[in-house]
């Protein structure tokens, strides 16, 4: 494979070699079933509990028994939402228009099942409409789900404040936060918030794919959605995935250590990339405009040029990025996040997300800053909107 410049870390990340190394013995040596009685099983059990402690620290939770291991961020969200609603009489639920599909589509399903759902909007800069949230919470509201950070724009939403507001209106409403795009990028301190549940996914912070976790505040009423054996205190049946849990633990430990690096070094490179593109490319417009943003993400709209075409040409140049726009994801609808922000059609179809990680180097960013304007210039020549593009050069 040719050398690639990987700027799609919000899609998935490289497994940190240190993480991989810790996992290996649990495949071929300490492969015992953590529920069994012999020595090898104890080793697995102890490794799982050690990982639980490390994941607890990433969440900033009080007790490690508040951590449940799942197979993905999507499972964490499904478990949080459905697991809680099983214990609720009320049929009203609230989320945002900019959530990840794992929450949005679960809500759509629940609407089919008889729940009433409200979807909170964002303004043109992508800031969450807290007043609208306030107006929707009632005595019948069973659950509110708000993401900590947006996967497409990197916007950080004020979930702590939102949880305070929701609980002050209805103390029984359960508050779930999808922190998949926040974990490892910004500090989480869940024990000092009113949040009841928080989900994360390992492969977004250098653990492998197929492992996630859900924080469940002690005392939260929740039922399993996968039934069977007694694993995870009866909350999730299925033999514990020891090597992946160990990997998640190590990745969580490293993520905590690298937080400052993310907020300084990674942010510096992200800003350099962003400013570099915006300065050199006249038709580029910044979509990530919230006051607070995760340090690794930028989303830029290239006006009058279509997103898939840009990605295909970036790929040719060895740059991996992504777009929520029409043609890439297999759906013909443009990004629901950018549409919720009322992004104009001129750049809606040509918006590209660049997301960095601690493995991104300055050389890679320099290459990207030099290459992207050349590609955009070439593609702008194909566009039928020459008059409009010329206008921007003035």
């Amino acid at each position: 494979m040719k050398d690639v410049i990987y700027l799609d870390n919000n899609a998935t990340t490289k497994v940190d070699p240190e993480v991989f190394e810790e996992m290996v013995p649990y495949f071929t040596e300490n492969y015992g079933n953590a529920s069994s009685i012999y020595e090898m099983a104890h080793t697995a059990h102890d490794a799982i509990e050690e990982a639980r402690e490390k994941v607890k620290n990433l969440f900033g939770a009080k007790k490690s028994k508040e951590i449940l291991f799942t197979a993905s961020g999507s499972e964490s969200a499904n478990m949080a939402i459905r697991g809680v609603l099983k214990n609720c009489e009320n049929k009203h639920i609230i989320t945002t228009k900019v959530e990840h599909p794992c929450v949005l589509n679960t809500f759509k399903e629940l609407e089919q099942e008889g729940y009433r759902a409200d979807y909170i909007g964002v303004d043109e800069n992508g800031e969450l409409n807290i007043e609208e949230l306030k107006s929707k919470v009632t005595s019948n509201t069973a659950l509110v789900a708000i993401m900590a950070a947006n996967n497409e724009t990197g916007a950080i939403y004020p979930y702590e404040e939102a949880a305070e507001i929701v609980k002050s209106i209805n103390g029984n409403t359960v508050f779930f936060v999808d922190a998949t795009q926040a974990a490892g990028k910004i500090k989480l301190d869940v024990q000092n918030t009113k949040v009841d549940l928080m989900g994360i996914s390992g492969h977004k912070f250098h653990a492998p794919k197929g492992i996630g976790a859900l924080y469940i505040k002690e005392g939260t009423k929740i039922s399993p959605i996968i039934t069977g054996g007694h694993q995870e205190k009866g909350l999730r049946a299925g033999t514990e995935n020891t090597p992946y849990i160990v990997g998640l633990g190590k990745a969580a430990e490293l993520a905590v250590q690298y937080l400052e690096f993310e907020e300084t070094k990674v942010k510096e490179l992200r800003d350099k990339l962003e400013q570099g593109i915006l300065e050199k490319v006249k038709c580029a417009k910044l979509n990530s405009r919230t006051k607070k943003r995760v340090p690794n993400t930028t989303n830029i709209g290239f006006q009058y040029i279509e997103g898939e075409l840009i990605l295909l040409h970036l790929d040719e140049a060895g740059i991996c990025a992504s777009s929520g726009s029409a043609c890439t994801s297999g759906s013909l609808e443009p990004s629901h996040v950018l549409r919720a922000m009322k992004t104009p059609f001129t750049s809606l179809h040509g918006s590209i997300r660049f997301s960095l990680s601690r493995f991104t180097t300055e050389e890679e960013i320099d290459y990207a800053i030099n290459t992207i304007p050349v590609i955009i210039k070439k593609l702008a020549e194909i566009s039928p909107f020459q008059k409009e593009l010329a206008q921007m050069l003035k």
């Binding site: 075409l309 043609c327 443009p334 194909i382 566009s383 039928p384």
Partner: protein
């Protein structure tokens, strides 16, 4: 990600005949910025032969590839030959396109048709009684009519019989119209509607007469509430973010409801 053939890749990487022609003899356009793809085709014609062709495309890889290969296919050909080129020919030349991308080749064909119409100053096929409804599979109105007469009652059933509407889906509204014209709808009495009858009627008109039109542009609409003669609706899909949504509501939705149900109806966005 899509599986593109080597020919498609070659044409989006290094598109041929990009640009415009000054004093072009014919210009054809298809698509729109809002829909995510648009194509402008320029032709230089001498003695009924296309001597030069250039294009500008806003669109994905397969849209650019379709436009690029189309210009190669028509340069040097007579107008009679060019006229016969279908979107299927474009797909064939590209070595295939993913089914979801069929509309990219259709856009090429549409721009070509538009250019030829502009050149001649009249529309080919205006007098033809059998126009093509589904461009992706070249299914004609009479074929769809026949399918309905043979028992197809829904768009899905028509698709199963004729393939029409099963690729890009843009003609689903048109297919519904043909179904409606073949299968007579029960007539609802105009006088003295109860509130429930009124609501049902408004909803029926929205779903059968208005929604199919909006769906063509990837939009949608749903009835939210009715207070007296005030009808509250919510626009969905591309319509919900369309800057022209107010115009759509007033000039199309309200007009249609007034025309078909009651002249006193006023429309509001919920």
């Amino acid at each position: 990600m899509w599986e593109y053939t080597e020919t498609v890749k070659e044409h989006y990487k290094n598109p041929k005949n990009v640009g415009s022609i000054e004093n072009a003899d014919a210009i054809g356009e298809a698509g729109a910025l809002a829909c995510g793809d648009a194509l402008k085709l320029y032709l230089k014609i001498e003695n009924n032969i296309v001597v030069d062709a250039k294009f500008q495309t806003f669109g994905c890889g397969s849209a650019v590839a379709s436009s690029s290969i189309l210009t190669e296919m028509i340069i040097g050909k007579s107008l009679d030959e060019v006229e016969k080129i279908t979107n299927k020919d474009i797909i064939e030349k590209l070595g295939g396109l993913p089914p979801e991308k069929t509309h990219c080749s259709v856009m090429g064909r549409e721009a070509l048709e538009d250019a030829l119409n502009n050149y001649r100053g009249y529309k080919i096929g205006d007098n033809s009684t059998d126009k093509i409804i589904c461009n992706c599979y070249s299914v004609t109105e009479s074929a769809i009519r026949e399918a309905v007469e043979h028992g197809a009652k829904t768009v899905k059933e028509v698709s199963d019989l004729t393939y029409a509407g099963s690729a890009c889906g843009r003609c689903k509204g048109a297919i519904q119209k043909i179904i409606d014209s073949v299968i007579p709808k029960p007539v609802i009495k105009e006088n003295e509607l109860t509130p429930v009858q009124f609501a049902i009627k408004v909803n029926t008109v929205i779903e059968t007469k208005i929604l199919p039109e909006l769906v063509k542009d990837n939009g949608g609409i749903e009835l939210v509430d009715i207070k007296g003669k005030d009808v509250y609706v919510r626009l969905k899909g591309t319509c919900s973010s369309c800057p022209n949504s107010t115009a759509t509501l007033k000039s199309f939705v309200e007009k249609k409801l007034k025309e078909l149900i009651d002249n006193e109806i006023t429309i509001f966005e919920a």
